[in-house]
Amino acid sequence: MDLRLANMWRLTMNEKKFIKTALTSGIRIDGRNPYEYRKLSIKFGREDGSSEVQLGQTHVMGFVTGQLVQPYRDQANEGTLSIYTEFSLMANPSFEPGRLGEFAVELGRIVDRGLRESRAVDTESLCVLAGKLVWAILIDLHILDNGGNLVDAANIAALAALLTYRRPECSLGGEDGLEV
């Protein structure tokens, strides 16, 4: 095992210079063309709403769950969508557990904006009882391995998980909502 301790790894000046000079002449360190993508593989888990995306060495897992909650006052007939990204030590040895770094928040926001602005999820269909009960969809993104380009991988994982998610059936009985 290497003598370098896990939290002291830094990119050397030589390595940085090499990567920059190689890029200016159009060579990437793993031999790809500037516009070439790494191999993408999407796998689905046993349950609805779980996906695992591998983009080269980057590994991201997405899980989708839904809960019945009270809606916001100003959006009484729309459901909510929220993303929870957690960077753990698993992906990168420099992450501290418990503290949400800037990049994690930014990544969560990018995925959130992408799904929300493009209306990928029809929030009005998530309404059960206007003003009282709506579905709140929570997407958990677990970054397992950071091999670069987390934004793409996280977006694909979130979408893939949403595609396989099936909302539980619920029917209204009398005045209360009953879940089936």
Partner: protein, 243 residues
């Protein structure tokens, strides 16, 4: 006593096991362990400089982070972290790298019963993959005890919820000895007869508990074999793998 289990196994039968190592590239060691539908991913980061405030700086310390499938980290996760930490501390050789912290991160992929044993097995395989020095390996198993006193091994989530009580037991790996005398003796008894960790939920009588212990120990031999085979298959060519 015959009992019908939902998936047709008999009381002593374990679910199909699968283990794969070195699946993550950034982590120093990683392993994924699945027992039937329960799947856990473990990653290990090798010694980092420095220990936390309330740890003993004369020894290496192990830090465990348990990440549930969905939701925030709460009390059950903290409990699992502590149990896992104590178990791993007793099998790793802590005096080799003093004043360092080794981090073990557990990610639950799917939970279908016997989650903690699955995590312990995965953590053990990941530690071997990372090359952390250990005294011996550990195998973990879950035994449930039902109303009428019979006990079943490796329950699924439904079975776990129906049972009166269940216990997670961790045994040391059975030793494959090259010496003709057999396994080393610790205080006059062979080492396989020891137990590392035992966590019980629910109420069971003392006899039931000992019964579970016996059954668990017998099954741990099968688990040890499986662990040994899956780890051995990656030994020969991997000597050049640096941290």
């Amino acid at each position: 006593m015959e009992v019908d289990r939902a998936d047709g196994r008999n009381p002593n039968q374990l679910r199909p096991l699968a283990c794969s190592c070195s699946i993550l590239h950034r982590a120093h060691g990683s392993a994924s362990w699945s027992q039937g539908d329960t799947k856990v991913l473990a990653a290990v980061y090798g010694p980092k400089a420095g220990t936390k405030k309330n740890e003993n700086p004369e020894k290496a310390s192990i830090e465990v982070i348990w990440k549930p499938r969905t939701g925030q980290i709460g009390k059950p996760e903290k409990e699992y972290e502590i149990i896992l930490k104590r178990t791993l501390q007793s099998i790793c050789i802590l005096t080799i790298n003093p004043n360092t912290t080794t981090s073990v991160i557990i990610q639950v992929v799917h939970d279908d019963g016997a989650l903690l044993p699955c995590a312990i097995n995965a953590a053990c395989a990941a530690l071997v993959d990372a090359g952390i020095p250990m005294k011996h390996l550990a195998v973990a198993i879950c035994c449930c005890s039902a109303e009428s006193g019979y006990c079943i091994l490796d329950p699924t989530k439904l079975e776990e919820q129906k049972m009166k009580a269940f216990a997670y037991l961790v045994f040391p790996n059975s030793i494959l000895s090259v010496l003709p005398e057999g396994s080393s003796l610790v205080q006059g008894e062979p080492m396989e007869h020891g137990i590392i960790t035992s966590v019980t939920h629910g109420a069971m009588s003392v006899d039931d508990y000992f019964h579970c212990l016996e059954r668990g120990r017998a099954a741990s031999a099968k688990l040890s074999d499986f662990l040994r085979r899956s780890l051995q298959s990656k030994l020969p060519g991997d000597l050049s793998k640096a941290g």
